[in-house]
Amino acid sequence: MNSLDRKLFRDLLRQWGQLIAIALVVSCGIASFVMSLSAYDSLKFTKTTYYNQYRFAEVFASLKRAPETLSDRITEIPGVGQVQTRIVVDVILDVPEKEQPATGRMISLPSQQHPMLNDIYIRRGRYIEAGRGDEVLVSESFAKANNLKLEDTLGAVINGRWQKLRIVGIAISPEYIYEVRGGASLFPDNERFGILWMEREALATAFDMDGAFNNVTLTLSRGASEQNVIDRLDRILERYGGLGAYPREDQLSNHIVDGEIKELEGMTTVIPTLFLAIAAFLLHVVLSRLIATQREQIAILKAFGYTKAAIGFHYLKFVMAIVLFGATLGTILGLWMGKGLTELYAEFLRFPIFRYNADWRVVFGAIAISIFGAIVGGLGSVYKAVSLPPAVAMRPEPPPEFKPTLIERWGLQNLFSPAGRIILRNLERKPLQASLSILGIALAVAILITGRYFEDAVTYLVDVQFRHVQREDVTIVFNEPRPARTRYEVAKLPGVVQSEVFRSVPAKLRFQHYQHRSGLTGIQANAELLRLVDRSLNTVNLPADGVVLTKKLAEILHVQPGDVLTVEVLEADRPVRSIPVVGLVDELMGLSAYMEINALNKLMREGQTISGAYLRVDANLANKLYTRLKEIPAVAAFTTRQAALDSFNEISGKNMRVMTFILVIFASIITFSVVYNSARIALSERSRELASLRILGFTRAEIAFILLGEQAILILLAIPIGFLLGYGFAAYMSWTYNQELFRLPLIITRSAYAFTFLVVSIASVISGFIIRRQLNNLDLIAVLKTRE
């Protein structure tokens, strides 16, 4: 080690407390970067491996009924790899010891187990035995939520007949990582919806599907055009009641899994950036202070003939040492946490396999980012050190040049005391330093706002969706369209206080070359249990004609009110119609297209027909209703608003709340360290000046006012800037979370601003108090003896 490095080492040791604090900020940033990026990579890799090993299909289609021979025609479509036809039906289940009925999705299995598309992995038990029509495999999540064990039995109404099903195995499948029914339910409700695999023969007999199928999935051969295959498949299936084929990308379970993984990706950018920006700021503060105190040492080194490059490199190494220490710690921590997080996700997503691979790319990325931060933070000060001419550096720093401030040029100086003028002149003289302090504090403020934003946005989303839009207690869906008079029977069900019917038809919406496969929902014009609202939560009236779209759906289709959509219905006579878009609604979950129910019936050229009903239920009679619903063969599905809310909270809400909590804790600590650091540096820079004032007879309170007054002004300037920055970060987050499944609105509540203000104020008061105590201990004689 040469002498210069030895000096470096001792300089580092002398300020270890402050430097470790900075290194920790760096390591927080790097750890969150490494953790989220490595978990993101690993999950993507694990998912792909799982999908490949279990042959997850690439194109999916449901239809009404087609003869098995059609599968040969599908195989002949150019670009199709493997084809698998199935029977898939939803039935109402009676789960032992549960009051509410559940919906089971029955999927056919070949009688002999062999590799197939969307293959199952049997966790416990065994495959079904050929010829045993009462044996089923049950999905793991459903089994877990309902405490189902091997050999338990379930009651089911299968095609109008009560039947007992015996559980022989518990399984998972890449197709139902998230067990979502689809339609209006976009989030898994494992207690009330599950997958049941059953022998094809038995299922075919029960649902009149002998030698036929109603669901087909397929893989693509290498280089095939997905869209071409989908178009050809749609044309083949059209005669057989095809509901429109869709790619893996739109498959609901896969879509949610991707969303979860994407959330991690969001974490890899914003949060580490903020941490590293703050670390860069702190480094700048500490380094510029160090260089100011080592002015003469730098001059000496130059006088001895050390080159600019050697001195610049010396100080750069100082910064690098801190940052690389932080980065190393952060990388180790990040890899460890990343493995844990991947494991947690893999378990949560019930992947049967688990692969953690932290790429060298991640580690190098982390180190590169931190070096970049170090250079940004240190370069200015290092440049200053290097460019100082030795003869100038040798002399004490000349008294700084002061000019009359703006306030004096405006003739307002009499409004300020001499102390006040010192504060103002100081701020005006060192605008860069003042701006950097302001920026540092503003960043901390912005993190606080961002942290609070998540919580507020999720709360708002839940409030909009589950209080303003969905107001029913229970939704029932019939297994096929029913005549309108069924509504009277529904209204007479036990416990039903209010009921409103709806009609939903599967359809493709098209505008120019944009299209989306969703459905049309017909609701009553004066519907109260499902209310259409705009951004300000005012009720939107549903016109007698035309379609009202969720804003996000309008975005996807590139339409605005007044444009005319082509609607291609995928049911019954499959009419193709043009309908004007007459309004937009600001729903934050899912994508919907609403019409007045009579208008939809007219469009379908059908009499008054309904698909289901929204019910408001007397809580005391709910159990009676549930018992009754289990016995009605016409009811194919059943959901409660509370279950949907719980499941949303379980999946998305919980993750975000944990993240928010961590962010707020981090941000509070950072706020304190930034505020304290900038005041502490100001104290050491100006202790001589302040001691001189004390000798001239200024009181402790007066010099405290000069020092802390300046800090207070910086903080007060930083807060609104931080609010703006935070708003910007929140807007970015809101943009990131603008997905089909749900959207986070850009909502920053007054309480978020107030909370942030409070945290910053408390941090400021505490650091002010500490500085004040240090000011009181100012050694006047010693300070005056030190040479500047």
Partner: protein, 241 residues
């Protein structure tokens, strides 16, 4: 005026050197048309009150600063035309500095402070040897804060001479020291001048020191007012002030 001296080589030559500083809105002329020659092996004392321009003169000689006008030669090298990198090399290879406030690196021991220079020099002494010359071989591993003022200044001298410089420039080397300690530091400087033959310039406002010099240059208000040659040099231990 030509005698034995002419056989000695001229180390520094200054021609019409002026230096002007811009101090806020006032121009300060620190040096006014200085002409000067320094011979090899000489011990020179630059005498003058504060503000007379002696530090500026020393800084220009040492390549720490450049004149506004005029020319400076070091053994035929034109320092006024030298680039920043050239000046850095000049200081690294040829010049040793000693300052009033020692300017040791506080985080390095005496030995390491000297090593700081020997590591980048061409034919340096070993740090222990240099510290031995100034009588500090017992205190090699002490930090500046553990040394007295006189000891710190002797470390600074050891640091300056360890590279075997061709010139040693000392700016008020005794300015911060008491009488006895100051004399010990001057003894060390004289020893180096005699033993190594290093051309040495000492700046001081203390006229008592002038008696130890070969040549005494007196300055006032940026001008040389007098150059005297001492026929009899007094040993530092016999100086009085």
């Amino acid at each position: 005026m030509k005698g034995i001296e002419t056989q000695q080589q001229t180390v520094f030559r200054m021609e019409e050197v002026s230096k002007t500083y811009q101090m806020g809105e006032v121009k300060v002329r620190a040096l006014k048309s200085i002409n000067l020659e320094l011979e090899e092996g000489e011990l020179i004392v630059l005498l003058g009150p504060s503000g007379s321009g002696k530090s500026t003169l020393l800084n220009i000689l040492g390549g720490l600063d450049v004149p506004t006008e005029g020319r400076v030669w070091f053994k035929g090298r034109n320092l006024t035309k030298a680039s920043d990198a050239d000046l850095t090399r000049f200081r690294r290879e040829c010049v040793g500095f000693v300052f009033q406030f020692y300017n040791l690196i506080p985080s390095l021991t005496a030995r390491e402070n000297v090593a700081l220079v020997t590591e980048i020099a061409v034919h340096p002494m070993r740090p222990r040897e240099a510290l031995g010359l100034v009588g500090l071989d017992e205190r090699l591993d002490h930090f500046p804060a553990q040394l007295s003022g006189g000891e710190q200044q002797r470390v600074a001298i050891a640091r300056a001479i360890a590279k075997r410089p061709q010139v040693l420039l000392c700016d008020e080397p005794t300015g911060a020291l008491d009488f006895q300690t100051g004399k010990r530091v001057l003894e060390a400087i004289e020893l180096v001048n005699k033993e190594l033959g290093t051309t040495t310039a000492i700046i001081t406002h203390n006229a008592g020191i002038a008696a130890m010099a070969d040549k005494v240059i007196t300055m006032r208000s940026g001008e040389i007012t007098d150059i005297q040659r001492n026929l009899v040099k007094v040993k530092p231990s016999q100086l009085e002030w």
